[in-house]
């Protein structure tokens, strides 16, 4: 079984070039030093305060995401291709959003069914016809990738709203550099620490039309009980901007203001880490206490920019996902560089038939689900689980999509018995503003359980530092 997976370090008994230094590194490291370093890493994470609360689990609110010290490595050449593919996708997704809130050419051309766009839950009628600054809807695009061979990458899903996890990309690197400085002297590893600066520049580059000065950027968080709060405060700190809650903001006249010790201060760009539905109780959910009443009026009249733009969620819907290669061809006139995973829509009769007949070999996901919840991994499920899931699909077929079980690549990982291959994925963070930027790296998530293909941190996944070797 193991031999069918692409091992990123060993190929046909030989070490692949990007991992050569690491082979000596692990060979030279005695077991005691390893556990010492692992404990040191954990202490560092805990001291810094990076913890992760898992929804609905209770338990320790200060849980850490397990950090694996064995890095994941890409060559400059491999990365160059990924970078082109990721940027291409980010451009197409934004072109799609601009289009569907405008003339809807792609629908008129019959390339995407109108129903999937205009009846999509994430479609915000409230912003139809409004063009955000620079026509950008999704300013931070997180694209989840998996690898199945030396040159085979598949996009698992796109995240156009507020992809999280970038703080781990930055902290994992910090901690590795602190613990193993020699590794960084021996390998030429492209730095990722420009990310906060690039993010700030990206956000400032989409200042609203009414802004005639150096734009004031803030991050809007749901509050300190949110599981990603650490990330919000971390990014605010690194960018040197205020971290605000809804209660800190108010609308007066044509602008949004924040309450400061020196009186009200105008806010121009809001990087929001709350969902559309909670942004403005006057426009969306009236019971939301997290948002700012009147915010959407200011937004639509060019007094403030909201990042990502309200309504950007249509583009990362799992039903729309199937059409991304089509978008790339339609808007950019290019061939897609990164492949989609073949996907069956259970809402379609013939697809449903195929899915139900082949359930034990497939991965089935809820269209609107996230975080690895409510999914079936066919090959890992028991017969009873498969059957009960089949019932759920039959009850609401339109809610599910299915994909073949991909042979996710593996990277060596420190486990109890020593070093063993574990499955990984990758989330790079592409920034879209005046320019499109991508720092060389991303978040590698690793399924720590032997044989497991689920990398989500809510399901026992861990994280690794991700290296791109300089060319």
């Amino acid at each position: 079984m193991a031999s069918t997976y692409f091992n990123e370090m060993y190929q046909e008994g030989a070490v692949r070039p990007p991992y050569r230094q690491l082979e000596n590194w692990t060979a030279d490291m005695p077991a005691e030093l390893r556990s010492l370093k692992q404990a040191e890493a954990e202490a560092l994470f805990r001291r810094i305060g990076i913890t992760f609360a898992v929804y609905g689990e209770g338990g320790d609110p200060d849980r850490l995401i397990p950090f694996d010290m064995f890095p994941r490595v890409f060559t400059a050449h491999e990365w160059a291709r990924l970078e082109r593919g990721i940027k291409q996708r980010a451009r197409a997704l934004n072109a799609f959003l601009l289009d569907i809130y405008g003339r809807g050419e792609i629908v008129r051309a019959g390339r995407i069914p109108a129903r999937l766009v205009y009846q999509n839950e994430a479609y915000e009628k409230a912003v139809a016809g409004f063009v955000p600054p620079r026509g950008v809807y999704s300013h931070i695009v997180g694209i989840d990738l998996v690898r199945t061979g030396p040159d085979e990458f598949f996009v698992l899903e796109d995240n156009c709203r507020t992809p999280s996890g970038v703080s781990y990309m930055l902290e994992n690197r910090e901690i590795m550099m602190r613990m193993f400085p020699a590794l960084f002297r021996e390998n030429r590893i492209a730095p990722v620490d420009r990310y906060p600066d690039l993010l700030r520049r990206t956000l400032q580059s989409v200042a609203p039309t009414k802004c005639d000065r150096d734009p004031t950027v803030v991050i809007l968080t749901p509050g300190h009980f949110n599981s990603a709060y650490y990330e919000h405060s971390f990014l605010a700190d690194l960018m040197g901007v205020e971290l605000v809650e809804g209660q800190d903001l108010f609308v007066e006249g044509e602008f949004v203001w924040m309450r400061t010790t020196e009186g009200p201060k105008r806010v121009d760009v809001i990087y929001r880490r709350i969902d559309d539905a909670y942004l403005d109780p006057l426009c969306f959910r009236p019971d939301s206490a997290l948002g700012v009443p009147g915010l959407m009026d200011v937004y639509r009249s060019g007094g403030v920019t909201i990042c990502s733009a309200p309504g950007a969620g249509v583009a990362d819907d799992k039903a729309i996902y199937t059409f991304v290669p089509e978008m790339i061809r339609f808007y950019l006139g290019e061939a897609p560089i990164l492949q989609n995973v073949p996907t069956w829509q259970c809402g379609k009769a013939e697809d449903l038939k195929h899915v139900l007949a082949n359930l034990p070999e497939l991965v089935v996901k809820e269209v609107h689900g996230s975080g690895g919840y409510g999914m079936l991994v066919g090959p890992k499920a028991t017969k009873a689980q498969v059957e009960s899931f089949a019932e759920r699909i039959r009850a609401k077929p339109g809610n599910y999509i299915a994909q073949p079980t991909l042979a996710l690549s593996t990277v060596p990982t420190f486990v109890e018995e020593g070093i063993a291959p574990r499955h990984v994925d990758l989330r790079p963070y592409c920034l879209v503003g005046e320019r499109i930027e991508l720092v060389p790296g991303g978040l590698t998530r690793v399924a720590l359980t032997e044989g497991s293909l689920v990398v989500n941190s809510s399901q026992g996944g861990g994280v690794k530092d991700t290296w791109v070797l300089a060319g």
Partner: protein
Amino acid sequence: MLSRTADNLYWITRYMERAETMARLLDVGGRMALLPSTGEGFHSEWESLLQASGTAEGFAHKYGDPVQRNIESYFFFDRDNPSSILSCITQARENARIVRGALTTLVWDTLNTAFQEVRALERRPRSELDLSFLTDWTMRHSALLRGAIDGTQLRKDGWDFLNLGYYLERADNTARLLDVKYYVLLPGIDFVGSGLDNYQWTTLLRAMSAHRAFHWAYGGEVTSRKIAHFLILNIQSPRSLRSSVEGMTDHLDRLARGYGTSGQAQSKARALLAELVETTVEDVFDEGLHEFLTRFIGDVAGLGGLIHETYLSGDVR
């Protein structure tokens, strides 16, 4: 700075100062329990501490009679007691977590370490932890945080809000500690000036970590007048009411200079300070120590209200 951020900073230090006061109270309690009974047994000593910390009702509701072991647990570990040391440190750390970006790494680290340690202490059997260990532990962490703040925080508005929290809480706490002595411990006037009385005053000085400092400052017999002067009016005494109010005035003035506008909070603080500068210990005793302290506690609360209104609520346009 966001008003809410200023609010969080101000509460970090208020909670930590309160934790320290709780430790001092416990220390006083431990010492007083070693004294010969004043007729009502140990009972009244512990009772008075509950009164001083404003937690008598909550305690009675949960435990009934004030037994030393229960009081120790209640003051140190009880999560139902919002003023317990564990509660205070948890609150301080939560406030810090919210404004992590406004704190230096060292300040966060110090506070977070105290929090992790107190949670570890909570899991240990109570029989392994004696009272003096717990009070020393608290004072040490409190001092570490103060040092980290003083040594590393940038001297801008955030630093002023951190210090305002300290001084305001301290002014209130010192006044309350003093008030316990007069108000509860000595129900009958006969004891004033007796040997026992002096011993209790001395214990109070110890609780303020001022025992030796007092002798340096005054020398000779310990008298209630000297002690009152030391804890209320002496600018050399770090915990005196005057020092606390002076600290508040300084930081409010710094804020006013930085922001280019002065308000009611500054006026109130200055008025309070001016009064303390003019007051003699005779004036205090003429008014009645308890009456004086009650008025002072009210004034400090009023000042706290003005600080909230001016800077922390964000409502001033």
